[in-house]
Amino acid sequence: MSINARLLVLVVASVLLTLLIAAATAINLKAQDDNHKRVEKSSEIQLGISLVRTYFNMHERYKDRKSIENAIAQHHRLRDAINDLNNAVGNELVYINSIRQNIEGLSFLLEEMLSVHSGGELSEIDIKVHQHLLDRMNNNLLAMADDGFRLSHYTLSNSWSSTKKSSYIVATVLFLATLLTIYIALKTLYVFRDNINKLHLGIEKTSSGQLDADIYISENNELSELAKNLNRMQENLKRTMITNDELQQEVSERTRELENQKKNLKNIAEHDNLTGLPNRGFFLEALKHTLDRCERQKSIAAVFFIDLDKFKHINDSLGHDVGDIALKNMATRFQSVLRKSDLLARIGGDEFTVIAEPLESPEDAALIADKLLQSLAPACTLNGNLHYLHCSIGISIYPDDGIDCNSLMKHSDSAMYKAKQINGNSFLFYNRSMTDEVIYKIQLEAELRSAILHRQFEVFYQPQIDLTTNKLFGLEALIRWRHPEKGLTLPINFIAHAEERGLIIDIGSQFVGQVFSQFSQWKEQTNDCILAINISIQQLTQNDFVKNLERKLNTFNIPGELLELEITEGHLIHDIETTLEQLKALKHLGITICLDDFGTGYSSLAHLKRLPISKLKIDQSFIAGFIDNPENKAICQTIIALAKALKLSIVAEGVETNDQAENLKLAGCDQAQGFLYSRALPAEKIHELYFNQS
């Protein structure tokens, strides 16, 4: 139902209610008026009866004709009045009928009485008749008076109850009509409130940006039409919103394109057109950042200055186009050998620069430079012919050769110039000694790798003598490198470098195998000779070191108790936490741990107590001045006393004189080794001296 129709119904209902109230009031008034008239009539009748009785009483007293005439007149009026009463209710009619009957009877009696009094004086008979008539009339009037009273009574009570009844009916009808009107009003209000509430919620949702608020009004009215329109509006809004999204997407795409263009422009600005490599500006900027980083991290970096040898010749003879091809070719080759972290740039003509970072040492820079040189080694096809390209490289190291971009660039440039002057196709450090050292180290490494490959290491043994018995206590295995050109080389010349380059693992492994193989042959002749081997800390920290060692011991059937591992004090102390477990495992195999070069490594007493070591080796520097230098002597004595206190055995190295041996013996030293007893000897010699039983 539409809102208009609802409101119309409400208005009609209200108007009807008002009309009903007016009609009810009118009906009630009419009923009351009727009742009032009935009451009035009944009172009139009662009054009429009373008047007839009054005239009757007067006649009774005066026996006159006039009273009878008056009574007759009044009696007629009474008859008219009673005939007028035609809307009697309930019992009223009973008494009206009764009064009518009595009026008829009275009429006869009155006429009779009038005829009695028609002549002048009353005869005796007349008096008797008069008396009889009086009795009858009295009786009749008594009955009428009674009826009159009862008629009034019933008229009053009936009119009251009819008023009450009609009032009740009117009240009930009005109540129901009011109820109906209230119901219609409430229903209309409810529909209004409900619909407007739904609209309100929907619009509120829409205004907050939620466009999925579907407003549903079940009634079919103006507000539901409004809801439908609002829903349609939402749909349209939604469509518009989608267009906005697309617009947004378009804008962001354009922005991306612009950014790409900007990036490209920046790229063009920062890069070399020909090779696509960063240009000078970009390179210097990057170098600045690199130097800042290196300063923060206290690390080193290298700047390479590369110049193509005889590029002018190529340009001149083959043309610039070919020259460009050669440059592009070079750039590609350089790039292929550089690490990702290195930066290659073309700063002009045939000049390239490189930032090599990070670096462990200048040698790394040398290796990279070498790779760059090597990358040009294969022939390059230019203009259909094979050409060999070469370049010269100058290297400056941050911070040794400069701490700013300018100085590093200048120095690397001058180093390159020198390299070109020498012969080209080579690299030079700005610092010449560094160049030599680096070249030496690179060479040494290469040689060591070759030595490992060609098993150029040999084992020499130096006997250790029991100072108490002066007999052989053990043999310390010492490594020697049989260099193909330089001859026998001492460990001091290569071990440090081997450790630095991580070659010590392979060397040590090869060495231990050699020693065990040899010692296993001698083991039969001497049961209690100890084999002492020097172990680098790098070896010890290998995860599988203990396992490998155990396997080798088993392979050569050497009991762990015969093996003594010497570890340099200084190295061990630096890495005590990681090595502690390994040492314990070694000790578990029965192997004796000896702290080598004791006294030079600042080991604390706490460390001595913690480490599972069994032996100390006093450094030869202390032994050298043992006799003449009282401080050295005191140190030796203290070390020996300390060892005794910690229940460690002690061995002295570098013992050269009997005095030294005697004094050490006196001091409580257990064993000694040195030139006094024997130099380190090749295996054959040792075999000859100690194990040649035959």
Binding site: V94, N97, E104, S107, F108, L109, D135, R136, N138, A143
Partner: protein, 331 residues
């Protein structure tokens, strides 16, 4: 919408139920006990119409009564049945009450339910030359000796100034009167209905009525033995009669139809008598005065062997009537 309609419907039904219940309750609340058995000796005359109507319309049942009628001809016989204990109540005329008042038997008059001031009539043979009351002198007039008919003639003559001794009074049963008048055995009769009507309507007989309305008021009354019924039972009977007289006032034709179904009367005959009837429950001084006048006549004519008027007020009991009908003033 559905919920609203349901609410409204329920409300309307509830309201209607309340209204109906209240209206019905007002009608039936008074009598809800088990029906009380009452036997009434009813005279077979149209004057007993309120009883027939009350029974036919179920007013006795509504009042919680189980009423049994003993239908007898004449109020005197009814009175005897009541006194013998066959009936609890009886319908009797004022004459019967008057004579029994002298006998000092225990009874109560509870109410008059009808009166007629024209039930007994003087019917005269036209051939006898009786045109006015005065012409009755020296004529032979039939009466039912010692009854209302006798008293009526006395009153009629007195009111008209005719010496009672100048007429020759013949006593005969009422049903003989029409024939006696027709045959000329008497010149006039003082007869009550239906015999007055019968005499008037005998074929080939010239009989006319001498006007006498108002001379004598015949009433029919409800009488009871004081010990036979409780006041509650009396109350119920009178309530039923009260409803009946109201019905008769408003529906005279239907009431007459009911009477015709019970009594062997022709409608003309009933209409003739009915026009003078006034059905109402009453008990007033007029009744008492009428009893006393009749008593005085009875004494002076030697109808009774007493020389003093009985105290009729002691026989009249208006307590129950005035409870049913508050307009009754009583004695």
């Amino acid at each position: 919408m559905t919920r609203g309609r349901l609410f409204f419907g329920l409300l309307t039904i509830t309201l209607l139920a309340v209204v109906l219940f209240t209206v019905r309750n007002q009608k039936t609340a008074t009598f809800t006990d088990n029906a009380t058995a009452v036997t009434i000796a009813v005279s077979t005359t149209p004057l007993s119409a309120p009883f027939y109507v009350a029974r036919e319309l179920g007013y006795f049942n509504q009042a919680g009564l189980d009423v049994k009628f003993l239908e007898v001809a004449g109020g005197s016989a009814c009175f005897q049945m009541m006194m013998s204990g066959e009936a609890d109540m009886a319908t009797s005329s004022n004459s019967v009450i008057m004579f029994n008042g002298f006998n000092e038997v225990p009874f109560s008059v509870l109410a008059s339910f009808v009166s007629s001031d024209n039930d007994i009539k003087i019917m005269a043979r036209t051939s006898s030359g009786i045109d006015s009351p005065k012409d009755l002198a020296e004529k032979k007039i039939a009466v039912v000796k010692g009854s209302a008919s006798d008293y009526f003639l006395y009153s009629y003559l007195a009111v008209n100034g005719v010496n009672v001794d100048s007429v020759s009074v013949v006593s005969m049963p009422p049903d003989h009167m029409p024939l006696a008048l027709h045959r000329g055995e008497v010149d006039a009769i003082s007869a009550w209905e239906p015999y007055a009507y019968e005499s008037l309507n005998k074929k080939s007989s010239a009989v006319h009525l001498l006007p006498s309305k108002g001379i004598y008021s015949l009433t029919f009354n409800l009488v009871a033995r004081p010990d036979s019924l409780t006041k509650d039972a009396q109350h119920r009977v009178i309530t039923a009669l009260h409803n009946a007289v109201t019905y008769i006032a408003h529906n005279p034709h239907k009431a007459k139809e009911i009477v015709l179904r019970h009594l062997a009367l022709n409608p003309k005959q009933l209409n003739w008598a009915w026009q003078d009837y006034s059905f109402k429950l009453s008990m007033n001084r007029a009744f008492l005065v009428s009893l006393e006048s009749q008593s005085r006549w009875a004494i002076s004519n030697g109808m009774v062997d007493k020389d003093r008027l009985p105290d009729f007020t002691s026989y009249i009991d208006t307590r129950v009537l005035s409870q049913v009908d508050t307009s009754v003033i009583g004695m």
